[in-house]
């Protein structure tokens, strides 16, 4: 069903949150192990993909979170919706850009 932008903003926020909750323990464990032994096994494409997904999910979740904080704590104005959405998009862009360099 076609939905308005705020609905998708929420969906992205929630799905990225769930993805992060699922990946974070793995991320911590990978980090501790890799830096203790060597970074060699982290060159494996699957690991790189996993880490890239974490970065993207993090950027998306951060963007969505900033949107929520803006809508809730700043005095309510309609145009802030667009601004918040733009902020979210920028956050994701930075995340993707930064991640690609990895």
């Amino acid at each position: 069903m076609k939905q308005h932008s705020s609905y998708w903003a929420f969906m992205v926020h929630r799905v990225s949150g769930i993805a992060l909750a699922a990946f974070l323990p793995l991320h911590f464990w990978t980090l501790a192990s890799a830096l203790q032994h060597s970074l060699a096994w982290t060159e494996q494409p699957l690991v790189k993909l996993g880490e890239w997904l974490v970065v993207v999910a993090l950027a998306a979740h951060l963007g969505g979170g900033l949107r929520v904080l803006a809508l809730e704590f700043l005095p309510w104005r309609d145009w802030q919706k667009s601004l918040a959405a733009a902020a979210a998009a920028l956050a994701v862009g930075v995340g993707l850009g930064g991640a690609r360099r990895q």
Partner: protein, 102 residues
């Protein structure tokens, strides 16, 4: 409320973290080089410990909504499971922090 507060803390932490990681990876630092810079750093240890603490608060509260709304899971079993997950995150997170910064 704890969710909003931890979210605000995380917004800062995540931004710093993302920039730091991108810097480290772009510089092509090896595991040795990274560890040389991080080991023994009190400031970084404190920063990342705060990061882990904020994550331990923020993730389970977020998952609580997901449990209530999408899994129809309510009550003490849900809260207990989330507490266990928080403990897991705290353990795994501090293990990684100690491994990198102690």
């Amino acid at each position: 409320m704890a969710q909003r507060a931890s979210a605000a803390v995380l917004a800062v932490c995540v931004t710093v973290h993302l920039f730091t990681i991108v810097y480290a990876v772009r510089g092509g630092l090896s595991a040795q080089e990274i560890l040389e810079r991080t080991r023994g750093s009190v400031a970084w240890f404190a920063f990342y410990s705060l990061f882990v603490l904020a994550v331990t608060v923020h993730v389970p509260i977020g998952l609580r909504s997901v449990c209530t709304e999408w899994l129809r899971w309510r009550g003490r079993s849900r809260d207990f499971a989330l507490l266990l997950f928080a403990a897991l995150l705290a353990w795994a997170g501090m293990r990684a922090v100690v491994g990198v910064f102690a």
